[in-house]
Protein backbone atom coordinates (compact mmCIF):
# COMPACT_ATOMS: atom_id res chain seq x y z
CA UNK A 1 0.00 0.00 0.00
CA UNK A 2 1.45 3.36 -0.95
CA UNK A 3 -1.36 5.51 0.37
CA UNK A 4 -4.49 5.20 2.45
CA UNK A 5 -7.76 5.33 0.50
CA UNK A 6 -10.91 5.65 2.58
CA UNK A 7 -14.55 5.67 1.55
CA UNK A 8 -15.85 6.64 4.99
CA UNK A 9 -14.59 7.62 8.44
CA UNK A 10 -12.92 5.12 10.77
CA UNK A 11 -12.64 5.20 14.54
CA UNK A 12 -14.67 6.59 17.43
CA UNK A 13 -18.03 7.70 16.01
CA UNK A 14 -16.95 6.74 12.49
CA UNK A 15 -18.85 4.79 9.84
CA UNK A 16 -16.35 1.95 10.30
CA UNK A 17 -16.85 -0.21 7.23
CA UNK A 18 -14.67 -3.35 7.47
CA UNK A 19 -12.70 -2.50 4.32
CA UNK A 20 -11.92 0.99 5.56
CA UNK A 21 -10.87 -0.36 8.96
CA UNK A 22 -8.58 -2.90 7.26
CA UNK A 23 -7.05 -0.12 5.18
CA UNK A 24 -6.34 1.95 8.30
CA UNK A 25 -4.89 -1.08 10.12
CA UNK A 26 -2.59 -1.83 7.18
CA UNK A 27 -1.49 1.79 6.87
CA UNK A 28 -0.71 2.15 10.58
CA UNK A 29 1.26 -1.08 10.51
CA UNK A 30 3.37 0.37 7.71
CA UNK A 31 4.01 3.41 9.86
CA UNK A 32 4.56 1.53 13.11
CA UNK A 33 8.17 2.74 13.19
CA UNK A 34 6.74 6.19 13.95
CA UNK A 35 4.74 4.92 16.90
CA UNK A 36 5.74 2.81 19.86
CA UNK A 37 3.38 -0.04 18.91
CA UNK A 38 4.23 -3.17 20.87
CA UNK A 39 3.11 -5.38 18.02
CA UNK A 40 1.47 -4.90 14.63
CA UNK A 41 -2.27 -4.39 14.49
CA UNK A 42 -4.29 -7.41 13.46
CA UNK A 43 -5.76 -6.56 10.05
CA UNK A 44 -9.28 -7.91 10.60
CA UNK A 45 -11.50 -4.98 9.71
CA UNK A 46 -12.94 -4.87 13.25
CA UNK A 47 -12.93 -2.37 16.11
CA UNK A 48 -14.92 -4.47 18.59
CA UNK A 49 -18.03 -3.50 20.51
CA UNK A 50 -16.30 -0.51 22.11
CA UNK A 51 -14.13 1.02 19.35
CA UNK A 52 -12.42 3.39 21.82
CA UNK A 53 -10.85 0.41 23.62
CA UNK A 54 -9.62 -1.31 20.46
CA UNK A 55 -5.93 -1.43 19.64
CA UNK A 56 -6.70 0.17 16.29
CA UNK A 57 -8.30 3.27 17.82
CA UNK A 58 -5.53 3.46 20.40
CA UNK A 59 -3.05 3.46 17.53
CA UNK A 60 -5.04 6.16 15.74
CA UNK A 61 -4.98 8.32 18.86
CA UNK A 62 -1.26 7.72 19.32
CA UNK A 63 -0.65 8.77 15.75
CA UNK A 64 -2.80 11.86 16.20
CA UNK A 65 -0.97 12.95 19.34
CA UNK A 66 2.54 12.07 18.32
CA UNK A 67 2.61 12.73 14.61
CA UNK A 68 -0.32 15.00 13.76
CA UNK A 69 0.20 17.03 16.92
CA UNK A 70 -3.39 16.97 18.11
CA UNK A 71 -3.41 17.38 21.87
CA UNK A 72 -7.00 16.19 22.29
CA UNK A 73 -6.95 13.22 19.94
CA UNK A 74 -10.45 12.06 19.04
CA UNK A 75 -9.50 8.62 17.70
CA UNK A 76 -11.24 9.12 14.39
CA UNK A 77 -9.98 9.42 10.83
CA UNK A 78 -12.24 11.45 8.58
CA UNK A 79 -11.89 11.13 4.83
CA UNK A 80 -9.33 13.74 3.72
CA UNK A 81 -9.17 15.09 7.26
CA UNK A 82 -5.97 16.12 9.04
CA UNK A 83 -5.15 12.63 10.24
CA UNK A 84 -5.87 11.02 6.88
CA UNK A 85 -3.63 13.50 5.11
CA UNK A 86 -0.82 13.06 7.59
CA UNK A 87 -0.93 9.28 7.20
CA UNK A 88 -0.58 9.68 3.45
CA UNK A 89 2.22 12.19 3.85
CA UNK A 90 4.17 9.77 6.01
CA UNK A 91 3.46 6.86 3.71
CA UNK A 92 4.68 8.85 0.74
CA UNK A 93 7.90 9.62 2.59
CA UNK A 94 8.44 5.98 3.36
CA UNK A 95 8.70 4.90 -0.24
CA UNK A 96 8.96 1.20 -0.77
CA UNK A 97 12.26 0.74 -2.49
CA UNK A 98 14.50 -1.87 -3.91
CA UNK A 99 17.83 -2.32 -2.22
CA UNK A 100 20.53 -1.14 -4.62
CA UNK A 101 24.20 -1.19 -3.80
CA UNK A 102 26.39 1.82 -4.51
CA UNK A 103 26.70 1.80 -8.29
CA UNK A 104 29.67 2.86 -10.41
CA UNK A 105 27.59 5.72 -11.72
CA UNK A 106 26.98 6.93 -8.19
CA UNK A 107 30.68 6.57 -7.36
CA UNK A 108 31.54 8.73 -10.36
CA UNK A 109 29.14 11.45 -9.23
CA UNK A 110 30.41 11.14 -5.68
CA UNK A 111 34.06 11.42 -6.69
CA UNK A 112 33.30 14.58 -8.64
CA UNK A 113 31.55 16.18 -5.69
CA UNK A 114 34.21 15.10 -3.23
CA UNK A 115 36.89 16.66 -5.38
CA UNK A 116 34.89 19.86 -5.46
CA UNK A 117 34.51 20.04 -1.67
CA UNK A 118 37.54 18.12 -0.43
CA UNK A 119 40.10 18.78 -3.14
CA UNK A 120 42.18 16.37 -5.22
CA UNK A 121 45.86 16.58 -4.29
CA UNK A 122 48.56 14.58 -6.04
CA UNK A 123 51.28 15.23 -3.43
CA UNK A 124 51.55 14.54 0.27
CA UNK A 125 50.41 17.28 2.64
CA UNK A 126 49.31 17.65 6.24
CA UNK A 127 45.61 17.92 6.95
CA UNK A 128 44.31 20.27 9.64
CA UNK A 129 44.94 17.64 12.30
CA UNK A 130 48.54 17.09 11.21
CA UNK A 131 48.01 13.75 9.45
CA UNK A 132 49.88 13.09 6.21
CA UNK A 133 47.23 12.99 3.51
CA UNK A 134 47.10 12.61 -0.26
CA UNK A 135 44.54 12.38 -3.07
CA UNK A 136 40.97 13.07 -2.03
CA UNK A 137 41.42 13.18 1.73
CA UNK A 138 43.24 9.85 1.93
CA UNK A 139 45.10 9.74 5.23
CA UNK A 140 48.37 7.83 5.41
CA UNK A 141 48.98 6.68 8.96
CA UNK A 142 52.67 5.78 8.75
CA UNK A 143 55.68 6.11 6.48
CA UNK A 144 55.48 2.38 5.89
CA UNK A 145 51.89 2.73 4.68
CA UNK A 146 53.04 5.51 2.36
CA UNK A 147 55.70 3.25 0.89
CA UNK A 148 52.98 0.80 -0.15
CA UNK A 149 51.44 3.43 -2.44
CA UNK A 150 52.86 3.99 -5.91
CA UNK A 151 54.31 7.46 -5.98
CA UNK A 152 56.23 8.75 -8.99
CA UNK A 153 58.96 11.34 -9.13
CA UNK A 154 57.57 14.67 -10.38
CA UNK A 155 60.32 15.39 -12.84
CA UNK A 156 60.79 12.01 -14.44
CA UNK A 157 57.55 10.14 -13.83
CA UNK A 158 59.61 7.15 -12.68
CA UNK A 159 58.30 5.18 -9.71
CA UNK A 160 59.76 6.41 -6.43
CA UNK A 161 61.70 4.05 -4.21
CA UNK A 162 60.53 3.02 -0.77
CA UNK A 163 63.20 5.22 0.82
CA UNK A 164 62.27 8.23 -1.31
CA UNK A 165 58.64 7.85 -0.25
CA UNK A 166 59.49 7.40 3.42
CA UNK A 167 61.87 10.37 3.36
CA UNK A 168 59.23 12.58 1.81
CA UNK A 169 56.68 11.37 4.34
CA UNK A 170 59.04 12.36 7.17
CA UNK A 171 59.75 15.74 5.59
CA UNK A 172 56.08 16.60 5.17
CA UNK A 173 55.33 15.35 8.68
CA UNK A 174 57.87 17.81 10.09
CA UNK A 175 56.14 20.88 8.67
CA UNK A 176 53.74 23.19 10.56
CA UNK A 177 50.07 22.45 10.06
CA UNK A 178 46.71 23.77 11.08
CA UNK A 179 43.40 25.05 9.88
CA UNK A 180 45.06 27.81 7.85
CA UNK A 181 47.49 25.62 5.90
CA UNK A 182 45.96 24.44 2.62
CA UNK A 183 47.44 21.48 0.74
CA UNK A 184 49.14 23.72 -1.81
CA UNK A 185 51.41 25.03 0.96
CA UNK A 186 53.17 21.69 0.96
CA UNK A 187 53.65 21.42 -2.80
CA UNK A 188 57.05 23.08 -2.81
CA UNK A 189 58.40 20.40 -0.44
CA UNK A 190 57.07 17.48 -2.46
CA UNK A 191 59.17 15.80 -5.12
CA UNK A 192 56.77 12.91 -5.52
CA UNK A 193 53.21 12.67 -6.72
CA UNK A 194 50.42 10.21 -7.44
CA UNK A 195 49.04 9.47 -10.88
CA UNK A 196 45.35 9.98 -11.59
CA UNK A 197 44.61 6.26 -11.64
CA UNK A 198 46.20 5.76 -8.22
CA UNK A 199 44.21 8.67 -6.81
CA UNK A 200 41.01 7.18 -8.23
CA UNK A 201 41.81 3.76 -6.75
CA UNK A 202 42.47 5.26 -3.32
CA UNK A 203 39.30 7.30 -3.51
CA UNK A 204 37.24 4.25 -4.41
CA UNK A 205 38.67 2.42 -1.40
CA UNK A 206 37.75 5.42 0.71
CA UNK A 207 34.20 5.33 -0.63
CA UNK A 208 33.90 1.64 0.20
CA UNK A 209 35.15 2.31 3.72
CA UNK A 210 32.65 5.12 4.28
CA UNK A 211 29.87 3.02 2.77
CA UNK A 212 30.60 0.42 5.41
CA UNK A 213 30.40 3.07 8.13
CA UNK A 214 27.13 4.44 6.77
CA UNK A 215 25.68 0.95 6.90
CA UNK A 216 26.71 0.68 10.53
CA UNK A 217 24.67 3.80 11.27
CA UNK A 218 21.65 3.16 9.05
CA UNK A 219 21.64 -0.60 8.55
CA UNK A 220 22.96 -2.47 5.52
CA UNK A 221 19.68 -3.28 3.77
CA UNK A 222 18.13 -0.01 4.82
CA UNK A 223 21.03 2.05 3.48
CA UNK A 224 20.84 0.28 0.14
CA UNK A 225 17.14 1.11 -0.11
CA UNK A 226 17.69 4.86 0.03
CA UNK A 227 17.44 6.63 -3.32
CA UNK A 228 20.65 7.64 -5.02
CA UNK A 229 20.30 11.32 -4.15
CA UNK A 230 19.95 10.43 -0.46
CA UNK A 231 23.03 8.19 -0.61
CA UNK A 232 25.00 11.08 -2.14
CA UNK A 233 23.88 13.34 0.72
CA UNK A 234 24.88 10.78 3.33
CA UNK A 235 28.29 10.29 1.75
CA UNK A 236 28.91 14.02 1.84
CA UNK A 237 27.90 14.15 5.49
CA UNK A 238 30.15 11.28 6.53
CA UNK A 239 33.16 12.39 4.49
CA UNK A 240 32.96 15.75 6.18
CA UNK A 241 31.86 14.84 9.71
CA UNK A 242 33.35 11.39 10.16
CA UNK A 243 31.41 8.51 11.67
CA UNK A 244 31.47 9.51 15.36
CA UNK A 245 30.18 13.05 14.79
CA UNK A 246 27.54 12.00 12.28
CA UNK A 247 26.31 9.21 14.52
CA UNK A 248 26.36 11.12 17.82
CA UNK A 249 25.66 14.74 16.97
CA UNK A 250 22.98 14.31 14.31
CA UNK A 251 20.51 12.09 16.14
CA UNK A 252 17.44 13.86 14.73
CA UNK A 253 18.87 13.77 11.22
CA UNK A 254 19.61 10.07 11.53
CA UNK A 255 16.14 9.33 12.90
CA UNK A 256 14.49 11.07 9.97
CA UNK A 257 16.73 9.29 7.47
CA UNK A 258 15.82 5.93 9.01
CA UNK A 259 12.14 6.87 8.81
CA UNK A 260 12.50 7.84 5.20
CA UNK A 261 11.44 11.36 6.11
CA UNK A 262 13.98 13.07 3.90
CA UNK A 263 12.23 16.43 4.07
CA UNK A 264 12.79 16.73 7.80
CA UNK A 265 16.24 15.19 7.48
CA UNK A 266 17.10 18.07 5.14
CA UNK A 267 16.05 20.54 7.82
CA UNK A 268 18.37 18.86 10.34
CA UNK A 269 21.34 18.51 7.97
CA UNK A 270 22.89 21.92 8.57
CA UNK A 271 26.60 21.97 9.42
CA UNK A 272 27.81 25.11 11.15
CA UNK A 273 31.15 26.42 9.94
CA UNK A 274 31.02 25.10 6.38
CA UNK A 275 30.20 26.94 3.18
CA UNK A 276 26.52 27.73 2.67
CA UNK A 277 26.79 26.21 -0.80
CA UNK A 278 27.77 22.81 0.59
CA UNK A 279 24.90 22.86 3.08
CA UNK A 280 22.55 23.73 0.24
CA UNK A 281 23.92 20.88 -1.88
CA UNK A 282 22.98 18.31 0.77
CA UNK A 283 19.63 19.96 1.53
CA UNK A 284 18.72 19.95 -2.15
CA UNK A 285 19.67 16.27 -2.50
CA UNK A 286 17.40 15.36 0.39
CA UNK A 287 14.55 17.55 -0.80
CA UNK A 288 14.26 15.96 -4.25
Amino acid sequence: MTNLRLVQSVGVGGKNSPNDIKAVQTALNQLKHLLPLNKPLIVDGKLGIKPETSNTVKAIMLFQKKIVGIIKADGRIDVNGKTHKKINEKMAAKKPSIATPVTESLKTKLRAKLEQYEGRVEHMYLDTKGYVTVGVGHMIATAQDASQITFVINESGISASKKEIEDEYALIKSKPFGSAYPARRFKSFAKLKLTDSVIDTLTNKHIVSFESELKKIYGTTEFNKHPENVKLALFDMIFNLGMPKLKNSYTKFNKFIKEGDYKNAALESNRGGIAAERNKYVKDLLSK
Binding site: G119, N240, L241, K245, L246
Partner: protein
Protein backbone atom coordinates in the same frame (compact mmCIF):
# COMPACT_ATOMS: atom_id res chain seq x y z
CA UNK B 1 54.39 68.94 71.95
CA UNK B 2 50.83 68.23 70.91
CA UNK B 3 51.47 69.98 67.68
CA UNK B 4 54.57 67.83 67.11
CA UNK B 5 52.59 64.63 67.69
CA UNK B 6 49.90 65.87 65.37
CA UNK B 7 52.47 66.69 62.75
CA UNK B 8 54.09 63.26 63.06
CA UNK B 9 50.74 61.54 62.74
CA UNK B 10 50.01 63.64 59.71
CA UNK B 11 53.34 62.74 58.17
CA UNK B 12 52.82 59.03 58.82
CA UNK B 13 49.32 59.13 57.35
CA UNK B 14 50.56 61.02 54.32
CA UNK B 15 53.37 58.49 53.79
CA UNK B 16 50.95 55.60 53.86
CA UNK B 17 48.65 57.37 51.44
CA UNK B 18 51.54 58.21 49.17
CA UNK B 19 52.93 54.68 49.17
CA UNK B 20 49.51 53.18 48.39
CA UNK B 21 48.95 55.72 45.68
CA UNK B 22 52.39 55.11 44.23
CA UNK B 23 51.85 51.32 44.11
CA UNK B 24 48.47 51.73 42.40
CA UNK B 25 49.80 54.10 39.76
CA UNK B 26 52.97 52.12 38.94
CA UNK B 27 51.42 48.60 38.94
CA UNK B 28 51.15 47.66 35.31
CA UNK B 29 51.14 44.26 33.72
CA UNK B 30 52.62 44.36 30.27
CA UNK B 31 50.69 42.51 27.57
CA UNK B 32 51.92 39.04 26.70
CA UNK B 33 52.11 38.02 23.05
CA UNK B 34 52.74 34.38 22.21
CA UNK B 35 55.69 34.09 19.82
CA UNK B 36 53.71 31.29 18.14
CA UNK B 37 51.55 33.86 16.40
CA UNK B 38 50.39 31.72 13.44
CA UNK B 39 52.37 33.87 10.99
CA UNK B 40 53.76 30.76 9.28
CA UNK B 41 50.29 30.37 7.82
CA UNK B 42 51.25 33.28 5.52
CA UNK B 43 55.03 33.47 5.57
CA UNK B 44 57.85 30.99 5.12
CA UNK B 45 59.64 32.53 8.08
CA UNK B 46 57.73 33.32 11.25
CA UNK B 47 57.26 37.00 12.03
CA UNK B 48 58.54 38.26 15.36
CA UNK B 49 55.70 40.27 16.83
CA UNK B 50 56.28 41.49 20.36
CA UNK B 51 54.14 44.60 20.68
CA UNK B 52 50.69 45.86 19.80
CA UNK B 53 52.19 48.06 17.11
CA UNK B 54 54.00 45.05 15.59
CA UNK B 55 50.64 43.37 15.11
CA UNK B 56 49.22 46.51 13.60
CA UNK B 57 52.05 46.60 11.05
CA UNK B 58 51.70 42.90 10.32
CA UNK B 59 48.19 43.45 8.98
CA UNK B 60 49.65 45.16 5.90
CA UNK B 61 52.62 42.88 5.41
CA UNK B 62 52.67 41.10 2.05
CA UNK B 63 52.21 37.33 2.31
CA UNK B 64 54.46 34.75 0.68
CA UNK B 65 51.34 32.80 -0.34
CA UNK B 66 48.56 34.82 -1.96
CA UNK B 67 45.01 33.53 -1.73
CA UNK B 68 42.58 33.35 -4.63
CA UNK B 69 39.05 34.57 -3.95
CA UNK B 70 35.87 34.59 -5.99
CA UNK B 71 32.77 36.73 -6.09
CA UNK B 72 29.28 36.12 -7.45
CA UNK B 73 29.33 39.10 -9.73
CA UNK B 74 32.96 40.23 -9.93
CA UNK B 75 36.15 38.72 -11.32
CA UNK B 76 38.34 36.59 -9.13
CA UNK B 77 40.75 38.44 -6.92
CA UNK B 78 44.10 37.57 -5.38
CA UNK B 79 44.87 38.86 -1.88
CA UNK B 80 48.19 38.84 -0.10
CA UNK B 81 47.70 40.66 3.19
CA UNK B 82 45.34 40.65 6.12
CA UNK B 83 43.98 44.06 5.21
CA UNK B 84 43.27 42.95 1.66
CA UNK B 85 41.60 39.79 2.92
CA UNK B 86 39.49 41.75 5.38
CA UNK B 87 38.35 44.19 2.72
CA UNK B 88 37.60 41.47 0.19
CA UNK B 89 35.51 39.44 2.63
CA UNK B 90 33.65 42.60 3.55
CA UNK B 91 32.93 43.08 -0.15
CA UNK B 92 31.47 39.60 -0.47
CA UNK B 93 34.45 37.61 -1.74
CA UNK B 94 34.98 34.03 -0.63
CA UNK B 95 37.47 31.23 -1.36
CA UNK B 96 37.86 30.68 -5.09
CA UNK B 97 38.00 26.90 -4.60
CA UNK B 98 35.21 25.31 -2.58
CA UNK B 99 37.70 23.03 -0.84
CA UNK B 100 39.65 26.04 0.44
CA UNK B 101 36.66 27.62 2.17
CA UNK B 102 37.73 26.60 5.66
CA UNK B 103 41.34 27.61 5.06
CA UNK B 104 40.35 31.12 4.02
CA UNK B 105 38.13 31.38 7.08
CA UNK B 106 41.04 30.26 9.26
CA UNK B 107 43.37 32.79 7.70
CA UNK B 108 40.77 35.44 8.27
CA UNK B 109 40.56 34.35 11.92
CA UNK B 110 44.35 34.64 12.31
CA UNK B 111 44.25 38.13 10.87
CA UNK B 112 41.49 38.87 13.32
CA UNK B 113 43.67 37.77 16.25
CA UNK B 114 46.39 40.13 15.02
CA UNK B 115 43.93 42.96 14.80
CA UNK B 116 42.74 42.28 18.34
CA UNK B 117 46.31 42.07 19.61
CA UNK B 118 47.13 45.42 18.03
CA UNK B 119 44.75 46.91 20.61
CA UNK B 120 45.93 45.02 23.69
CA UNK B 121 47.06 47.40 26.41
CA UNK B 122 48.82 46.90 29.74
CA UNK B 123 46.56 45.73 32.58
CA UNK B 124 46.38 46.92 36.16
CA UNK B 125 45.29 43.63 37.64
CA UNK B 126 45.18 40.03 36.55
CA UNK B 127 43.11 37.10 37.75
CA UNK B 128 44.49 34.90 35.00
CA UNK B 129 47.92 34.23 36.49
CA UNK B 130 47.18 30.57 37.03
CA UNK B 131 45.53 30.07 33.65
CA UNK B 132 46.57 26.76 32.17
CA UNK B 133 45.10 24.99 29.16
CA UNK B 134 44.37 21.70 30.89
CA UNK B 135 41.32 19.64 31.74
CA UNK B 136 40.27 21.92 34.58
CA UNK B 137 40.26 24.83 32.15
CA UNK B 138 37.56 23.09 30.13
CA UNK B 139 35.50 22.72 33.31
CA UNK B 140 35.65 26.46 33.88
CA UNK B 141 35.55 27.78 30.33
CA UNK B 142 32.29 29.08 28.86
CA UNK B 143 30.16 26.79 26.71
CA UNK B 144 30.88 29.06 23.74
CA UNK B 145 34.18 27.20 23.32
CA UNK B 146 32.38 23.92 22.62
CA UNK B 147 32.29 22.53 19.10
CA UNK B 148 28.64 22.59 18.04
CA UNK B 149 28.18 21.68 14.41
CA UNK B 150 24.57 20.50 14.17
CA UNK B 151 21.53 22.62 15.00
CA UNK B 152 20.50 20.14 17.69
CA UNK B 153 23.89 20.54 19.36
CA UNK B 154 23.57 24.32 19.34
CA UNK B 155 20.24 24.01 21.14
CA UNK B 156 21.62 21.56 23.71
CA UNK B 157 24.64 23.79 24.35
CA UNK B 158 22.39 26.58 25.61
CA UNK B 159 21.69 24.65 28.81
CA UNK B 160 25.25 23.52 29.47
CA UNK B 161 27.18 25.13 32.30
CA UNK B 162 30.66 24.95 30.78
CA UNK B 163 32.63 23.80 27.79
CA UNK B 164 33.29 20.40 29.37
CA UNK B 165 29.76 20.05 30.65
CA UNK B 166 28.61 20.08 27.04
CA UNK B 167 31.47 18.43 25.19
CA UNK B 168 32.40 15.71 27.72
CA UNK B 169 36.10 15.90 26.98
CA UNK B 170 37.79 12.51 27.21
CA UNK B 171 41.41 13.43 26.56
CA UNK B 172 43.64 16.51 26.72
CA UNK B 173 47.08 16.57 25.15
CA UNK B 174 49.37 19.42 26.06
CA UNK B 175 51.33 20.43 22.95
CA UNK B 176 53.14 23.27 24.73
CA UNK B 177 52.66 25.70 27.61
CA UNK B 178 50.26 27.68 25.46
CA UNK B 179 48.54 25.04 23.36
CA UNK B 180 46.52 21.93 24.06
CA UNK B 181 44.34 19.61 22.03
CA UNK B 182 41.01 18.52 23.47
CA UNK B 183 39.19 15.37 22.34
CA UNK B 184 35.47 15.06 23.10
CA UNK B 185 33.34 11.96 23.32
CA UNK B 186 31.53 12.53 20.04
CA UNK B 187 34.62 12.70 17.83
CA UNK B 188 35.40 16.40 18.12
CA UNK B 189 39.05 17.48 18.17
CA UNK B 190 39.80 21.02 19.30
CA UNK B 191 43.25 22.58 19.30
CA UNK B 192 43.30 25.59 21.58
CA UNK B 193 46.09 28.18 21.59
CA UNK B 194 46.63 31.05 23.99
CA UNK B 195 47.64 33.90 21.69
CA UNK B 196 47.88 36.87 24.03
CA UNK B 197 47.06 38.37 27.39
CA UNK B 198 46.39 42.03 28.07
CA UNK B 199 43.67 44.59 28.60
CA UNK B 200 41.31 44.19 25.66
CA UNK B 201 38.40 46.37 26.73
CA UNK B 202 40.05 49.13 28.75
CA UNK B 203 38.78 48.11 32.19
CA UNK B 204 42.27 47.51 33.54
CA UNK B 205 41.65 43.81 34.05
CA UNK B 206 43.75 41.35 32.10
CA UNK B 207 41.96 39.42 29.37
CA UNK B 208 43.17 36.64 27.15
CA UNK B 209 42.86 35.88 23.47
CA UNK B 210 42.28 32.28 22.46
CA UNK B 211 42.49 30.71 19.00
CA UNK B 212 40.49 27.53 18.51
CA UNK B 213 40.90 25.11 15.58
CA UNK B 214 38.09 22.60 15.33
CA UNK B 215 38.22 19.30 13.49
CA UNK B 216 36.65 15.85 13.76
CA UNK B 217 37.80 12.27 13.96
CA UNK B 218 37.62 10.51 10.61
CA UNK B 219 36.27 13.52 8.69
CA UNK B 220 37.49 16.60 6.88
CA UNK B 221 35.48 19.16 8.86
CA UNK B 222 37.45 22.21 9.93
CA UNK B 223 36.46 25.51 11.51
CA UNK B 224 38.16 28.20 13.57
CA UNK B 225 37.02 30.51 16.33
CA UNK B 226 38.58 33.40 18.21
CA UNK B 227 37.58 34.12 21.80
CA UNK B 228 38.42 36.78 24.33
CA UNK B 229 37.80 35.69 27.88
CA UNK B 230 38.58 37.07 31.30
CA UNK B 231 38.13 36.61 35.00
CA UNK B 232 36.83 39.58 36.97
CA UNK B 233 37.90 38.48 40.47
CA UNK B 234 40.13 35.98 42.20
CA UNK B 235 37.47 33.29 42.46
CA UNK B 236 35.34 34.55 39.63
CA UNK B 237 34.28 32.43 36.68
CA UNK B 238 35.95 32.57 33.31
CA UNK B 239 33.75 34.88 31.31
CA UNK B 240 33.42 35.34 27.58
CA UNK B 241 33.92 38.96 26.57
CA UNK B 242 33.81 38.41 22.85
CA UNK B 243 33.55 35.64 20.31
CA UNK B 244 35.21 37.44 17.42
CA UNK B 245 33.29 37.25 14.17
CA UNK B 246 34.82 37.53 10.70
CA UNK B 247 36.95 40.60 10.22
Amino acid sequence: MNQKIKLNKLLIAFSILLSTGCNASTTEIAPYFNKENQSTAFFDNALILTSASDFSSALDKRWDYPVELKHETQNNSSVSSCQQLKQSIKNGFTAAKNYEYSFVKAQSAICSTWEQQSHFAPSRVSYLNTLKLDESFANQAPTALALTISDEQKVKAKTASSWNDFSKIIKVISNSDTQSTYYDQTGGIQRLSLMAKGDYNGDGIEDCLLFMENSVEGGSYSSTEVYIITRMSVDGPLTLINKVRDI
